[in-house]
Amino acid sequence: MSAVENAPLLSVQDLVVEYPSKRFRAKPFRALTDINITIGQGETLGLVGESGSGKTTLGRAVLGLAPVTKGRIIFEGNDISNASRRERRTLSRDLQVVFQDPYTSLNPALEIGDILAEPLGVQGMDATAARKRVKELLDQVGLPSDAIHRLPREFSGGQRQRVAIARALALSPKLIVCDEPVSALDLSTQARVLDLFLQIQKDTGVSYLFVSHDLDVVRHISHRVAVMYRGEIVEQGSADVVTTDPEHPYTQRLLLASPVPDPDRQEQRRADRHRLLETQRQQNEQTLVS
């Protein structure tokens, strides 16, 4: 946690997110409990956890898409936990997003050029300058410049994700929240998109909050990793420690659950996993008894 000496770019303090229940007078649903994370300049924080663990909600809370019940989200020294729409508009220059599903994150009725020009237009850039910037962006993510006049459905999943990344990059943000950006992609496409993320970070010094369920992906792209389980962060630290020698029982289970592409090593891992599950079960019983 002592990663960054000077003030971090983003710092989340004791964050609680609750969704009001649909039923009358029922207890609200608590999606996140006492979350504390920081992200420095040019740093990637990987956020790993299983479905329903709240990792996506944390990303959405930072973006202002989830309600902040308690706690603070501080971006560049300003509390943005309850930013108004007008403040968000200013903030969108520095804070952007890439969503998981490249099929629904682009409006199917708009041309790629219009999609990419949208955030530029919001910031008041005129049309000619915006068009020039859109060309640059397409170039930066490795798409042909004639993509401007095409519709999203004419592109494959990997290419659409490149468009989504280009949209996030349009305003040269300082932090991009990446919500499972490679989960819907094929293996070789995933590798290329991860390369693109790394390259962009190298070129622009952008920070990532990288949400994923895949420990391998998170290990590959992150400087530090936080592990979420049932709405809480159970472990965080430098990527190589958390993803190779975790402390928390859940992270240990997670690590040994992901299969390796070699039959003999996988057999070994399987045996390790069964041993771990057995030990944890015994520990649980002991704590229950005592």
């Binding site: 968000r88 997003v97 006049h149 290419q159 070789s188 400087h223 592409p261 039959p263 996988q266």
Partner: protein, 640 residues
């Protein structure tokens, strides 16, 4: 970016050459190609032109009466004759068109002006406004429309405009509901979220991203509502509640009805005009809907275009031949009977509209023996699922086996030369000797029935055992697949169990009839990693205990390493490489397999480029730094 995989994937739709502008105009073009669409447009167009030109075309004013010439037959002056007051029918018909059409437009306009914004706001924001407006809408919809209109007529007098405004208000809930539902379906789309993150105001989000979804349904709805408005308005006037000083079709109808025994043609003309207009509106609405839906069909199931020719070409002779072939199935090649499944030079294709056949599986051969797990690995679009489905006989109707054969346990399920999977032969095997584990556990359980019912029914049918026996067996199966409380799961509905649990239930179902072959299509892809590990353990344990053959379709090499004995790698419908799991994973010979394995993250130095980049400005740069990248990463890494 010139990576082969991505460009290959996008190459297929490309030749159609659909750029944005073309697509938009295709709806109109498709509308004009539809004979009903053209007919309705021509009818409505000409009626509108006649109405606009009424003052020029009409020889007389709408109320000009020639009392000396009442109920006259058509002649050169009054081309459609005159009515009981000696007014010219043709002139009144023209002026009537003006008033009738305008009032119908007014009615639709009022309905849209109320329903559309209210629906947009209620759908987008939800909350209190939605609650209150739903309540108002319910009240409006429960009011008896005709009685309200009669009351309004009594209060405000016989004005067409007032009654049509009132009717517009009464009918606005239909727009409200339409809009609200459409908006709700896109409100949580990610692109709306992305727009919010970009700082777009709600107004521009609605205008840019949301309004486009409701535009088409609104147009269709308006065509229908305008027709209804004309009908209602004419109905009121026919009852004699119209404004007698203005010529409308309804008033003319009423007038004609009074003289129906003297001059029946007086009734004919306004009725004809109304029938044409209302019919035209209804047809136009249908044609627009068809034009829009056609577009969707092509977009989503491009490969499923049915061929008009083939079914017609299937002559009786061919059918007889097929019938005979079904009776006498050719024997399989000697020496291959012992294979549980043998696929030989299989080709699967989809006939296209232009007569060509799009091959999705091409020349694929492999075999599976008893007690063996064969992995089929490939990326999306590699044809791995299509291959598995052709063994199961679950290909879509218009799919054709274009080459090769499939045999199961020494008998052909697809004999050489057959162009379809023989369902007669397969339905005896499916469920009993071949079973299937799907990718999405939740969508493969029927939410309307308990899990127990869905397990018991196939067993009763396939194994012919009693319900009680089947129930006992199902409970044992549920226990076998590692479900802690089988009784409770047995009685649960699918929505009451987790995804991992649902997949266990489906595995229990797959082995319930003691199959020889299980085909598992990405059985763990939708599951969390920890759950995946459990399910893999379960599959391995069951496979060893029951000694069944398994075909495992997956894209995950970790899963392959965990379960498979042998692997085939597929790319773009072709079989690229085949071998034992160790051969393929450790020393792949084909470049494609090497690329796939090279994309694996396991064992890679973090923060380094994974793929040696082919070209492009960004990639070039990284290409030069890639070898040094490991050092760079090593320096960067110790952040903590």
């Amino acid at each position: 970016m010139s990576d082969s995989v991505e460009t290959a994937a996008v190459a297929a739709p490309m030749p159609v050459g659909q750029s944005g502008t073309v697509v938009r105009s295709t709806v109109i073009r498709r509308l004009l190609k539809n004979p009903l669409g053209i007919a309705s447009l021509v009818i409505l167009g000409s009626i509108a032109v006649l109405a606009v030109l009424a003052p020029v075309l009409a020889p007389f004013g709408e109320n000009f009466a020639n009392i000396t010439k009442t109920l006259a037959a058509p002649d050169s002056v009054n081309i459609l004759g005159t009515d009981s007051a000696g007014r010219d029918t043709w002139s009144r018909l023209l002026f009537g068109a003006q008033l009738t059409l305008l009032s119908a437009l007014l009615c639709a306009g009022v309905a849209i002006a109320i329903g559309l914004p209210a629906g947009l706001i209620a759908g987008y924001y939800g909350g209190k406004f939605e609650g209150v407006s739903n309540w108002v809408v319910s009240i409006l919809m429960s009011l008896p429309g005709l009685i309200v209109l009669l009351t309004i007529r009594a209060a405000f007098g016989p004005s067409v405009w007032i009654s049509m405004i009132a009717f517009g208000v009464l009918i606005s809930p239909s727009y409200f509901r339409l809009t609200r539902t459409a908006v709700q379906s896109v409100r949580n789309e990610l692109y709306v979220d992305a727009a919010r993150v970009s700082g777009l105001s709600d107004l521009s989000i609605i205008a840019r991203h949301i309004f486009s979804v409701v535009r088409a349904p609104i147009i269709i709805q308006t065509a229908a509502i305008a027709g209804v408005a004309i009908a209602i308005q004419s109905g009121l006037e026919f009852l004699g509640l119209g404004d007698p000083t203005r010529a409308t079709w309804g008033v003319m109808l009423s007038e004609g009805f009074k003289n129906v025994y003297l001059t029946p043609t007086l009734l004919l003309w306004p009725a004809l005009a109304m029938a044409l207009t209302i019919g035209g509106l209804v047809l136009l609405g249908n044609a627009i809907r068809d034009a829009l839906e056609d577009g969707e069909k092509i977009r989503h199931r491009r490969q499923r275009t049915p061929v008009a020719g083939t079914s017609a070409e299937r002559t009786t002779a061919e059918r007889a031949k097929a019938r005979q072939a079904r009776k006498t199935v050719a024997a399989v090649d000697i020496g291959t009977e012992h294979h549980l499944v043998k696929v030989t030079h299989l080709g699967v294709g989809y006939p296209q509209a232009d007569g060509s056949v799009k091959k999705v599986v091409d020349d694929v051969s492999f075999h599976v023996d008893r007690g063996e797990i064969l992995g089929i690995v490939g990326e999306s679009g590699s044809g791995k699922s299509q291959t598995a489905f052709s063994i199961l006989g679950l290909l879509p109707d218009n799919a054709r086996i274009v080459a090769g054969s499939i045999q199961f346990d020494g008998n052909y399920t697809v004999a050489p030369g057959e162009d379809r999977v023989n369902q007669d032969r397969l339905s005896r095997l499916r469920g009993k000797r071949i079973s299937y584990i799907p990718q999405e556990p939740m969508s493969n359980l029927d939410p309307a029935f308990t899990i127990g019912y869905q397990l018991v029914t196939p067993m009763v049918r396939v194994l012919g055992i009693t319900k009680a026996e089947a129930r006992k067996r199902a409970l044992k199966l549920l226990a076998d697949v590692g479900i802690a409380n089988p009784e409770r799961t047995f009685q649960a509905y699918p929505h009451e169990v987790s995804g991992g649990m649902a997949q266990r239930v489906l595995i229990a179902g797959a082995i319930s009839c003691e199959p020889d072959l299980v085909i598992a299509d990405e059985p763990t892809t939708a599951l969390d990693v920890t759950v995946q590990a459990d399910v893999l353990d379960l599959l391995r344990e069951l496979q060893q205990r029951l000694n069944i053959g398994v075909i495992l379709v997956t894209h995950n090499f970790g899963v392959v390493a965990d379960l498979c004995d042998r692997v085939v790698v597929m790319q773009n419908g072709r079989l690229v490489e085949e071998g034992t799991v160790r051969e393929i994973l450790r020393s792949p010979k084909e470049k494609y397999t090497q690329t796939l394995l090279g994309s694996m993250l396991e064992g890679k130095t973090p923060m380094t480029m994974l793929v040696s980049p082919p070209e492009g400005p960004v990639s070039h740069e990284s290409g030069s730094t890639a070898p040094a990248g490991q050092d760079a990463a090593a320096e960067k890494e110790p952040v903590a």
